[in-house]
Structure formats: structure tokens, C-alpha cells
Subunit: 134 residues, 2 copies
């Protein structure tokens, strides 16, 4: 049965986390878009712009140590024409992060154009929403 | 002179931060897309999905207290067809965050489809990139 665009987006997102979890820098490189300006925001880092900076960061993360034990949960896709977003939770060891991944169709394939991950506060350190700036 | 799509994206991004900084909940509501599933990740929060949840969060942030003193710096736009991203630094008081904002064209107007902001580590607490997971 043909997959919906949202299912295709989720499959591309799963491939991203497979490359991440297995430390497969070649697969990671293939997943990132080549026709648009890409950007990446690792947790706490300043934004990285352009394919060269972004892929250098993935090399330092994936090749520097043992691959991170990361898994993706609660992935939800939104289709925006020939682009799309997937929002998910990243579990790394005991930590949880929230990630936004933006994909763009290149030659009919969903490629990563943007990634941002940031920490998810635990219940003990998160103030109620109404008291939280931004 | 006609603006480029990237300039239009940056103008939409500036309007978003104007609404944010002035606590203008009506302007914020008008800026968010209506034809696609929207999502929003405030710093430390779990992802919010759908217009109702997202706008409720903005009401609690913008109407709960004095509007946050926020300003946007270093905004950079990437065009992805009828969608686009803007990555920027948010300055709130002495804090810095990095934000990813995703826009979608609705009736020729760039509307916000997604926002994620997360903390930017200061030099004293950021490990070198190679030692940082994700």
C-alpha cells in the first residue's frame, strides 16, 4: 500500500535517527539536503549554517566517541507542501530532549534541511507554563 | 523594490518577535498558520500540537505577566519552496536562546507553522563540540 506523505516523512525521520544511533556518518551525510541552505542546532550550541559546518558537527559527534544511545519517540509529522516537519522526543540515556526536524523533497526523496534539539525539563525543574518565558 | 522570498521570510519572523515582545496576542494569533498542523516547543516544554494548544500557550505567556523583553538577532532565512525556515538568536534579559521558526505560504503570506526555542549554553558551561552529545 502506498505510503502517505506523512508516513514518508516519518520514515525519513526514522532513517535520521538510525544513522545517529549507529554512528553512520555516510548515511547521515546522504540524508541531508543538497539544494537548500541547511542549518542545525545541537543542544546548547549556536546554530550551524551550511552543509560544511553541519556535517563537520555530525562527524565530531558520531565519530568522536561511541555512538550515542539515542532513540526517537512520539514522532509527529506535518506536511507543508514540498517541505515538512517532524517533532519528536529524543531519549539519550536518562535524558529527554525535544527535536524539530525539517525535511524538503529533493528528487522525490525527503532530505533533512534543518534539525534542532533542546532539553526537555523534568517535572521537578519545569515551572508551570504560565510562569515560563518563551 | 520587490523583496526576495528570503526577505519576506525575515519580515514574517520580525513580525513574530514584534507580537512576542509587545504581548500582542491578536497579532500572534494572526501570524500562525491555519491550513497545516502547527506545533510549538517552548524552552524545556514538551511539544505542543495543534492550533488550540499552541495558542493557549501564547495566551499564558503573553497575557500572564508583563510581556517578555525579547529581541531577535542574527536571523537567517532558508527558502524551501512554499515553506521556509528562519534560525535566530533570542535575547531575553541576560539569557540567550536559539530558535527555529518554520513558515508556510498561505494565500501568499508567510505564516508560522512551527517554533522551537532552546537555551544557548554560555562559554563557561558549553563543552567543546566534539565532546557534546547531539
Amino acid at each position: 500500500m502506498k505510503r502517505t506523505p506523512e508516513e514518508e516523512l516519518l520514515a525519513a525521520n526514522a532513517a535520521f535517527y538510525d544513522a545517529f544511533a549507529t554512528g553512520d556518518i555516510e548515511a547521515m551525510d546522504e540524508l541531508w539536503a543538497r539544494t537548500v541552505p541547511v542549518a542545525c542546532v545541537h543542544p546548547g550550541w549556536p546554530a550551524l549554517h551550511g552543509r560544511e559546518e553541519v556535517m563537520q558537527s555530525w562527524r565530531s559527534i558520531l565519530l568522536g566517541e561511541a555512538p550515542p544511545e539515542i532513540r526517537c519517540e512520539d514522532a509527529r509529522a506535518s506536511l507543508l507542501g514540498a517541505a515538512g516537519t517532524v517533532v519528536c522526543v529524543e531519549r539519550i540515556g536518562g535524558d529527554a530532549l525535544v527535536a524539530s526536524n525539517v525535511f524538503v523533497l529533493e528528487n522525490g526523496i525527503w532530505q533533512v534541511a534543518h534539525h534542532q534539539a533542546g532539553p526537555l525539563a523534568t517535572e521537578s525543574d519545569a515551572p508551570p507554563p504560565g510562569q515560563r518565558l518563551n
